[in-house]
Structures are given as structure tokens and as C-alpha cells.
């Protein structure tokens, strides 16, 4: 069998044998015991991959030990199987038994693991985590009231990086310089459009326009008069709130309801005109798929949601819902919101159920082999060639995201850019395919919503074929931030 070490961090010099090392030893030792005792079929071992992970999100969709089986396109089992161990969640005293249980599950047609399945297998892009994510943004207020803190407080920084005053100031200065340069060359357009996608409460937009106006006046230019700040968001309610907070700039804002996946559709009149596009933490909240390459073959990760026997018992004791009632309760929650789960009068109980359910459901994975004719995982607007560019720079054995929502959004935003325009995205990016071998990049649970890193290398491949070089620089305005700034420059 092959052991993959998927978490690589620099150990301190002189440090004694780490706890992770001891757990890893326990994994290999336990597996040898399982083979010797006949619990793990020696015929399976050669095609078994062992993955040692360290999942950085305390709550996530994985059990400490999980099994992934491979199938062909029709769901028929293939030989390759994977056993993934999250060394962060593992406890040494339980690990041998968990591995023994997993070894039993590797065999196709093995009996279940006392799991109660909520869905069938689906690619990540279609699975219920997105229903839960939508639920969160739709009923944010209820979640926040129950948790006692705003969603920004759940972010690693405690607040959105978008609104950092120094970051906004840098953006304003950079943009003003572009305008000045265009004016010097007599190429400044009559209208100066800027686009922010995912405008939220309008906090960043307000900070930007306030500062831009001040900067413009202090330098004696008249760019503010020509400014058109396009506020893009899918929610008309959000846009209305943002507009209200920007009332002082009402002649310079253009609210635009749009789908983040295709900004061009709503903004075609701005084709090749927008001088600056900004997004913060939008791409990491858009659908993705996971692909795995093993021995030169590509597999699509498919998942099905389940709750463990222990979680079923917990939900029953806390909410009086038997196992058979869970699918219906989940359906009511996702379709009608937390108030629809229980009869009227039990609203608080509905939110509590939502929080408990989010906490306990997990995703079981299988790997479905892809053939050359299967293109369902290719994001809309992209082609096989984009993915081929990506795979050309990827390690041979790798699991990675196809950030299909981010790629689609990016591809559908670029046609808006003026020849001298640029796009900036503040988000968490995997900048290089090799990074996928070195750590877990999501998805994780983030107090009600999802967190998943964005495949920046994919966006680089998309940009390259659209005439843009894509770069990343660290977000330096918050020490220790994992946020990067992705920005485009025109290819020469």
C-alpha cells in the first residue's frame, strides 16, 4: 500500500517526536496487525492508499477515519480504495478499532456502518452543503441571534478583510494612479465605471467612494464626477440596504442585481468598459468539485450525507425526532427555513435543530472514474483545455478543487474589463497545484456556512486563455492573514 502524507509543516528544530508522528506510527502498525490477523484482505492491500490528513477546521464533514472506494461511471466497484485518517481528530486509544472498522468497509458490498444516509451520491457541486449554505445567508439573522455573535466574528480575523482602512486606501491610490495615467495619455473615458461584486451592506463601497472623493478633491482632479460605482449582488434586499448606506453618493452608484456566476449577463452594456472590479470572499462561497488523479487516471469525488448512530440518538433526545423523521425535518428546514421545522410556536427550537444538524451531519465519499467523454465536471464557459493546462502543472498524485463557481464567475467577469482595467479578489487561494499535496483546503464548516479554498491555479489557467496574467500577493493589512489578493494584468 502507498501512504500519502498530506499535511506538511516545518517541525521545530530539535523538537521531540511529535504526537502526529506517533499517531502515524499507530496507523501503519495497526494496518500491519489487520493484515496479519486477516481482517484486512492482503489482496486489497496493494491497491490501497492511506492518506494522513490534518484538517484545519475543527468542524468539518469528515469522521476521523474514512473509506473511499472507487467506481466506474456506472457505480460498479473498481480495485483502488483509499483510507483517510484525520490526525487532528484521531485519538490514539480509539484509532485501532476505527481502522479495523474501516478495513471491513473497504470490501465492496460490506454491510453499513450504522450510518443513516440522507442523500444519494452526488458531486460536491450538487450536494446539500450548498442548500445549507443558502439557508445560512437567507436566515443569517436567526443564526446570529442564536449564536450570540455576528457571522464576521466567526471569521479568523473577527471581521471582514474587505473593510480594512489601509487596504481600501491602497485600492483608492492605485485606482487614482490608473486614471491619472489614462488622462495623461488622453485616453480617460468619459464615464469611469467600477464594479464591486458581493457588496454586502455596502461598507467597503462606502469607504472606497468616501476616500476616493477626498483623494480626488485634494489632488484637484475631477474623476469623482465621472465615477459610476456599480454595486453587484444577487439579492435586491441587500442592494437596497447598500444603496441606503451610500445615499450621499447616490448620483454615482448603480445598483445591479446580478448572478455572481455571470456578471456579464446583467452588465453587457459595460463590455470592455469597467476599469476596476473588486470582490472579497465571494469566490470561496461558490460551488466546487473535487478531482483526484491517481496513477494517471482522473476520478470525480462524489459524496452522500449521513448522520451517525450517535448523532441520530442526540437529535432524538434533544428534539424528539426519530430517525425516520429526520429526512422530512431536513427537507422542511432547507425549503422553509428553521421556522418550518416544528409547529408554530417552536421557532427557537427550529434554529437549535438547524445548528445541531449542521454540526453533526457528515459526507461519505466515493471516487467515480472519469473518461475522456465525460465533461460534466468542466465548469460552464471553460473547456477541457483549461483543465489540461491545470493538470500539466499538477503533481501526478493529487486531490484538488475545481473551483467551478469561481472559474465561471471569473471567466464571465473578464469581458467587462476595459483594456487597462484590472480585477482584484481578496480571498483564500491555493496559488499553486503543488500546495494541494501539503495541506487540507476545505471544505470546512464555518459556524453555519462553508469555507473552501479557491483554486487560484485554475483561475490562472482561465486568465491565460483570456489574455490575462493572474498574480497573487499576500494581504498584508492583517498579520497572520491567510487571505491573498489575486489581481490581473493584461498579457503582453
Amino acid at each position: 500500500m502507498i501512504v500519502h502524507i498530506n499535511h506538511i509543516s516545518q517541525a521545530k528544530k530539535g523538537a521531540k517526536k511529535s504526537q502526529l508522528g506517533e499517531l502515524a506510527s499507530l496507523v501503519t502498525g495497526s494496518l500491519v496487525d489487520l493484515v496479519e490477523s486477516g481482517q484486512l484482505d492482503a489482496k486489497i492491500a496493494p491497491s490501497l492508499r492511506i492518506h494522513l490528513d490534518w484538517i484545519q477546521y475543527k468542524t468539518n464533514f469528515r469522521d476521523p477515519v474514512t473509506v473511499r472506494r472507487t467506481t466506474d461511471a456506472s457505480g460498479k466497484p473498481l480495485a483502488l480504495a483509499e483510507l483517510a485518517i484525520d490526525l487532528r481528530q484521531c485519538q490514539a486509544d480509539k484509532l485501532p478499532a476505527q481502522l479495523a472498522n474501516a478495513a471491513r468497509l473497504i470490501v465492496p458490498k460490506s454491510s453499513g456502518d450504522n450510518r443513516f444516509y440522507l442523500t444519494s451520491y452526488q458531486p460536491f457541486r450538487d450536494c446539500i452543503i450548498w442548500d445549507f449554505n443558502r439557508l445560512f445567508w437567507r436566515h443569517l439573522g436567526e443564526w446570529e441571534a442564536a449564536s450570540g455573535k455576528g457571522f464576521e466574528a466567526a471569521l479568523p480575523s473577527g471581521s471582514s478583510d474587505a473593510n480594512r482602512p489601509d487596504a481600501v486606501k491602497e485600492s483608492v491610490e492605485e485606482f487614482w494612479k490608473l486614471l491619472k495615467d489614462l488622462e495623461t495619455k488622453n485616453q480617460l473615458p468619459q464615464e469611469i465605471p467600477i464594479l464591486e461584486i458581493g457588496v454586502g451592506a455596502g461598507t467597503r463601497a462606502a469607504a472606497f467612494i468616501d476616500l476616493f472623493q477626498e483623494y480626488d478633491q485634494s489632488r484637484g482632479t475631477t474623476y469623482y464626477d465621472r465615477l459610476q460605482f456599480i454595486l453587484g449582488d444577487y439579492s435586491p434586499d441587500t442592494l437596497a440596504r447598500a444603496c441606503a448606506s451610500l445615499a450621499r453618493h447616490k448620483d454615482h452608484i448603480v445598483p445591479s442585481p446580478l448572478d455572481a456566476l455571470n456578471p456579464f449577463k446583467a452588465l453587457q452594456q459595460y463590455r470592455f468598459k469597467v476599469l476596476y472590479v473588486h470582490l472579497t470572499n465571494v469566490y470561496d462561497n461558490l460551488p466546487f468539485d473535487d478531482l483526484i488523479r491517481r496513477d494517471g487516471h482522473l476520478y470525480l469525488v462524489e459524496v452522500r450525507a449521513y448522520v451517525s448512530e450517535a448523532s441520530v440518538q442526540r437529535l432524538e433526545s434533544e428534539f424528539g425526532l426519530a430517525q425516520k423523521d429526520l429526512p422530512g425535518a431536513m427537507q422542511r428546514l432547507l425549503e422553509g427555513g428553521p421556522h418550518a421545522v416544528f409547529p408554530p410556536g417552536d421557532e427557537a427550537k427550529g434554529v437549535a435543530f438547524w445548528r445541531a444538524f449542521w454540526d453533526c451531519f457528515k459526507l461519505e465519499e466515493r471516487l467515480r472514474a472519469l473518461d475522456d467523454r465525460d465533461e460534466s465536471h468542466v465548469p460552464p464557459g471553460l473547456t477541457w483545455a483549461h483543465l489540461q493546462d491545470l493538470l500539466d502543472e499538477a503533481p501526478e498524485d493529487v486531490r484538488f478543487h475545481i473551483s467551478r463557481g469561481a472559474a465561471e464567475s471569473f471567466a464571465n467577469t473578464l469581458p467587462l474589463l476595459h483594456p487597462r482595467g484590472y480585477l482584484q479578489v481578496q480571498d483564500i487561494f491555493v496559488e499553486d497545484m503543488d500546495e494541494y499535496r501539503k495541506g487540507f483546503k476545505g471544505p470546512g464548516k464555518l459556524d453555519g456556512s462553508l469555507v473552501v479554498w479557491v483554486n487560484g491555479a485554475l483561475l490562472r489557467a482561465v486568465g491565460a486563455r483570456a489574455g490575462y496574467d493572474v498574480h497573487f500577493r499576500p494581504f498584508t493589512f492583517r498579520p497572520g492573514s491567510k487571505t491573498s489578493v489575486m489581481y490581473t494584468t493584461q498579457k503582453p
Binding site: 485616453q187 470592455f272 483545455a385 483570456a466 490575462y468 498579457k491
Partner: protein, 333 residues
């Protein structure tokens, strides 16, 4: 060859198939032989000619699909330009190139394109070359004292080639200069370089000036006002300009400056996959006829169809031809 009133033609490269892109990249990666790639190029050029004929285009090209892009095809051929053949992996990128000595006087061998065209079509034909200003902007200059001097020598190199092309029997010649719009201050010396390129050339020469079409997007924005009056000194027969995407505002410059040129009128926006209707094309032509007489009007797309899918490119060319026919009928021709 007699052409109809309002003759139609194409600009730049025809639709680039994705499979050919892959083949070109494979060639660069040494996974495909030059012989195989040449065979593919010939097949796709024949198909491009056939598509133009089927769409009803009057003056056809070979589709230029053997050209990786508008720079490398020439820098690889111009004697004296050093090309780092290992400097690109993606065919559409540019090679790293440099000129370290005076340019040589050898042929660029573009007459092969004329032979190919004459073998496979009996339509009027056109061959395009990238202009000296455009080439100067992409080749690192380590020899000439300035860009103007370098461009003048490139103009002379192109002049020898244009004469050969004319002798080989091509009907029309075109010089492409998409970089003017990004560097309007260069225009005085750029026009001198054009005149060096066209001096004594016995053929109808069109100067195509657009705002760029690299990766299907403009490289620059602005107004054609910068061209006037300097461009009036250019020794060419026609100016081909981009109007479909940018609007027709700049058409009046032709009237304002009494420009003596034939106008190559861009009526097809090649940066969108939306196919224009023949009626829209006809409207655009009618608007131009308010400024330029029909005898001095040629109908063409804004630029090359290289970034459009083949079916879209073909539909656009067909719509352009239909729209032109509508106006011809109105003119009684």
C-alpha cells in the same frame, strides 16, 4: 478581376479550431512533427477558403491559420531577427525576439500563400502582413538608434515582400497596424515606415488599423481622431477601420478631413458571439454611405474571426454578405 460594388472581404485569421490549438502546442512541446502540423494547416486553410466562398465573400484569404499569431509568423522569417524558439509553450504567446544587427534582405517566402490561394480558389485574393510599427513594438531593439529607424528598415524589408506578392498575382494586399491606437504619438514615423513598405508596390494596398483583438478583447480604447490629419500622408489605397463594436461616431472624420482613401468598413463585431442580422449590417453600410461614396467602400469585419467558434464566424460572414447584398440592391447594382 472585376469586383462588385461594395466588395466584401475578411480581416486577419479565420476561426481557430481548438484541436488545432492543441496540435500547435503539441508541436512546440515536440509531440508532433512539423510535417504533420503542416498537413493540418493545409487542411484547415482549404476549409477556411471554402467557408469564405460559401459565405459569399468576394476577396478571400487563406484564413491565416498557419500563423501562430500576427508577430511570430513574421519575426521567424525576417532575416536578422533572432528568435528564442524555447521561449513559449502556448502557441498564441509571443516568442522572445531581438534584433542585434541590421536586418537582412532575404525573402519572407509569403508568396507560398499566393500559390496556395491560386490553387484552391478562383476568387479575388488577399494576403496580409503585420506592419512595421506593430513589429517594432514586439521585437527588442539592440541595434537601431530608435524605433523610427528600426521601423523604417522593417518597412523596406516588407516592401521587398509586398512587391514579390504583387508579382505573384495576389489581388489585394493588406498591412495590419493594431498598435497605432495604443501609441498615437508614434504616428508620424509610423506612417513614414508604411510609405517605405508600399513604395513602388503595384497592387491595391489596405492599411488596417483596429484597437487590437488579442484573446478576443481590445488592447486599447479611444477615438480614431488621433489618426488625423497625419494618416492622410500614408501612401495606401484604403483604410480599414473598426466600427461595429465601437460605434460609427468616427465615420465623420472621413468627411471632416476629406480622406481620399477607400474605407474598409468594419460591420461585424468579432469580440462577441452574437451574430449580427443582415439588416443591422445593411444599416451600418447605409450610415457609411452618408460619408463615403459606394465606389470607395469595402465591407469587412472589424478584425479577425480567430477567437470565434467556426459556426459563429461563418454565420457572421454570411450575415455580412447578405446585408451587403441588401444595400447593393437598393443601389440598383
Amino acid at each position: 478581376m472585376k469586383l462588385p460594388l461594395l466588395p466584401t472581404t475578411v480581416i486577419g485569421s479565420y476561426s481557430m479550431p481548438e484541436w488545432l490549438e492543441r496540435a500547435k502546442n503539441d508541436y512546440l512541446a515536440r509531440r508532433l512533427s512539423k510535417r504533420d502540423l503542416d498537413d493540418m494547416h493545409d487542411a484547415v486553410r482549404k476549409a477556411a477558403i471554402k467557408d469564405q466562398e460559401s459565405a459569399g465573400i468576394d476577396i478571400v484569404t487563406d484564413g491565416e491559420l498557419q500563423r501562430d499569431n500576427m508577430i511570430d509568423y513574421f519575426t521567424e522569417r525576417i532575416p536578422g531577427v533572432q528568435v528564442d524558439l524555447g521561449s513559449k509553450r502556448f502557441y498564441y504567446d509571443f516568442y522572445d525576439t531581438e534584433v542585434r544587427s541590421k536586418l537582412g534582405t532575404g525573402s519572407l517566402h509569403l508568396t507560398d500563400e499566393v500559390k496556395f490561394l491560386k490553387t484552391y480558389t478562383d476568387h479575388a485574393t488577399k494576403v496580409s502582413v503585420s506592419g512595421p510599427h506593430t513589429l517594432v513594438k514586439r521585437i527588442r531593439n539592440s541595434f537601431y538608434k530608435d524605433e523610427a529607424e528600426f521601423a523604417l528598415d522593417l518597412g523596406k524589408a516588407l516592401n521587398r515582400e509586398l512587391k514579390e506578392l504583387s508579382r505573384a498575382g495576389v489581388s489585394e494586399l493588406q498591412i495590419d497596424e493594431p498598435y497605432y491606437s495604443g501609441f498615437p504619438e508614434d504616428l508620424p514615423w509610423a506612417v513614414k515606415a508604411i510609405n517605405a513598405a508600399t513604395e513602388g508596390v503595384d497592387a491595391h494596398v489596405t492599411l488596417h488599423i483596429c484597437y487590437g483583438n488579442r484573446y478576443g478583447k481590445p488592447s486599447f480604447e479611444g477615438s480614431y481622431k488621433y489618426l488625423f490629419p497625419t494618416i492622410l500622408d500614408a501612401h495606401v489605397h484604403a483604410l480599414s477601420l473598426e466600427f461595429a463594436r465601437r460605434g460609427e461616431e468616427d465615420l465623420d472624420l472621413f468627411k471632416q478631413f476629406k480622406a481620399p482613401f477607400t474605407l474598409g468598413l468594419g460591420v461585424i463585431d468579432v469580440k462577441t458571439q452574437d451574430v449580427e442580422s443582415p439588416a443591422l449590417v445593411a444599416d451600418r453600410i447605409r450610415r457609411a454611405l452618408e460619408v463615403v461614396p459606394a465606389e470607395r467602400l469595402v465591407v469587412n469585419p472589424d478584425c479577425g474571426c480567430v477567437h470565434l467558434p467556426r459556426d459563429v464566424a461563418f454565420a457572421k460572414l454570411a450575415a455580412m454578405v447578405e446585408g451587403t447584398k441588401m444595400v447593393r440592391n437598393e443601389l440598383g447594382k
